[in-house]
Amino acid sequence: MDRSAAFDQLREAAVEVLHVDASAVTEDARFKEDLDADSLALIEFVMALEERFDITVPEEELDGVTKVGQALDLVMAKLPASA
């Protein structure tokens, strides 16, 4: 899956779980300041990403993830490499 397709999925998850407009979800958007997502909302969001992408994100890996782009990097690193 390429980064753009993954970002579309991630944005859908954000709209669903964080209750924000799709337009607010950009790679530079900060979870807390721009998307009003506290630490629990971030956990819920990452759970949704785990389920959508069939990946596992140990909760320690969330430390330091403050922007949408960083969450996308996390997802991309865990997706199987394309053939």
């Binding site: 630490s39 819920e44 759970m47 909760e59």
Partner: protein, 363 residues
């Protein structure tokens, strides 16, 4: 797994088509008791680095009840038991089994049930049951088994906790969450597969998660010493983020299992009574199961997390508020340290005179 197509939930005049009751019992009475002491978010903000708005947003809790000096778990349990017996219109001698679901006994020995039995003046089978926040649901399934088998004809099932004793006064991640309280039900043998009782249930433990929520010292693994107390190892330790994740997923999975076993869609559930651990956990779970806030009983704002007392306390308040009717399908879901889970789908049948509001016990 076959998916049952959702159908619109009606409030029918006639009894709706419903799955058979596998473990019949009737609830003869309900009662609850809470300590009079209140610990508000403002009180907490004066003690640790937190605020009312932070606590309310993260947990949904505004205040919790805490025991005063001289009040222990069995005091709350006995008061709840008396209230349930009064609601049932029977005396303590009507009971032939006393189950106290608690993880906060008066003492390591004897059981809290022993002290409750002393206060009630009974000599029947009496035991404590520990499954943390799944304790009352575990107790309900156990009691249903005792009633169906004839081991008991009338069981008093109490959920009672004093969690305030385990709170590290410097730990702002646990201090706001937990409270004290008790609630009880008188359960009597039921009528059969079309009457009230347990329709489906799911109990389990995830032992990989044993270490996520503990009170490490004071038991056989690490007996209490001056050193363990100095280190604060008699306080509760919790990995909150991982507990949150597992709570949401496990309750979702267990509820889906129970609804599937019963062959009913979420829309058929008249009332969902989840363990009141954190309002955000409940918020996360509802859409995953297809339940609505209108179907859900929440009283965490006034009591916090009271572990095994949480579900019966919420049930008692729901019944007192008139939210339950004969024949309603009621879904209970507990999840706690262990990590244990316990989900039960009941067909509601209650013959009490109408439970009173929880009795507040002054210190």
């Amino acid at each position: 797994m076959t998916v049952v197509a959702p159908r619109p939930r009606a409030r029918p005049a006639a009894r709706p088509a419903s799955p058979p009751t596998r473990l019949p019992f009737r609830i003869g009475g309900l009662g609850a008791a809470i300590p009079g002491g209140r610990l508000t978010n403002a009180d907490l903000a004066a003690r640790v680095d937190t605020s009312d708005s932070w606590i309310v947003e993260r947990t949904g809790i505004r205040e919790r009840r805490v025991v005063g000096a001289g009040q222990a778990t069995s005091d709350l349990a006995a008061a709840a038991a008396f209230a349930a017996l009064a609601d049932a219109g029977v005396g303590p001698d009507a009971i032939d089994a006393l189950l106290v679901a608690t993880c906060t006994p008066d003492m390591p020995l004897p059981s809290t049930a022993s002290f409750v039995a002393r206060t009630l003046g009974v000599r029947c089978a009496a035991l404590d049951l520990t499954a943390a926040c799944a304790g009352w649901v575990y107790g309900l399934v156990t009691a249903a088994g005792l009633l169906v088998s004839g081991v008991s004809s009338s069981t008093l099932l109490v959920g009672a906790e004093v969690l305030s004793q385990w709170m590290d006064p410097t730990d702002r991640t646990t201090l706001p969450l937990f409270g004290d309280g008790a609630a009880a039900a008188v359960l009597v043998a039921g009528e059969g597969p079309t009457g009230p009782g347990l329709v489906a249930w799911d109990l389990g433990v995830d032992p990989d998660a044993c270490d996520l929520l503990t009170v490490p010292a004071g038991g056989s693994r690490r007996p209490a010493t001056a050193d363990t107390v100095a280190a604060g190892d008699h306080y509760m330790k919790m990995q909150g983020r991982e507990v949150f994740r597992r709570a949401v997923r496990t309750v979702e999975s267990s509820c889906q299992t129970v609804l599937h076993d019963a062959g009913v869609p979420a829309s058929a559930v008249a009332l969902f009574v989840p363990h009141q651990a954190n309002a955000r956990i409940v918020d996360a779970i509802l859409p995953r199961i297809g339940l609505t806030a209108a179907q859900t009983m929440v009283n965490i704002d006034r009591y916090g997390n009271t572990s095994a007392a949480s579900i019966p306390l919420a049930l008692c308040e729901a019944a007192a508020a008139g939210r339950l009717a004969e024949g309603d399908l009621v879904l209970l879901a507990g999840f706690g340290a262990g990590m244990t889970w316990g989900t039960a789908l009941l067909r509601w049948g209650y013959t009490g005179s109408g439970p009173a509001s929880p009795r507040s016990l002054p210190a």
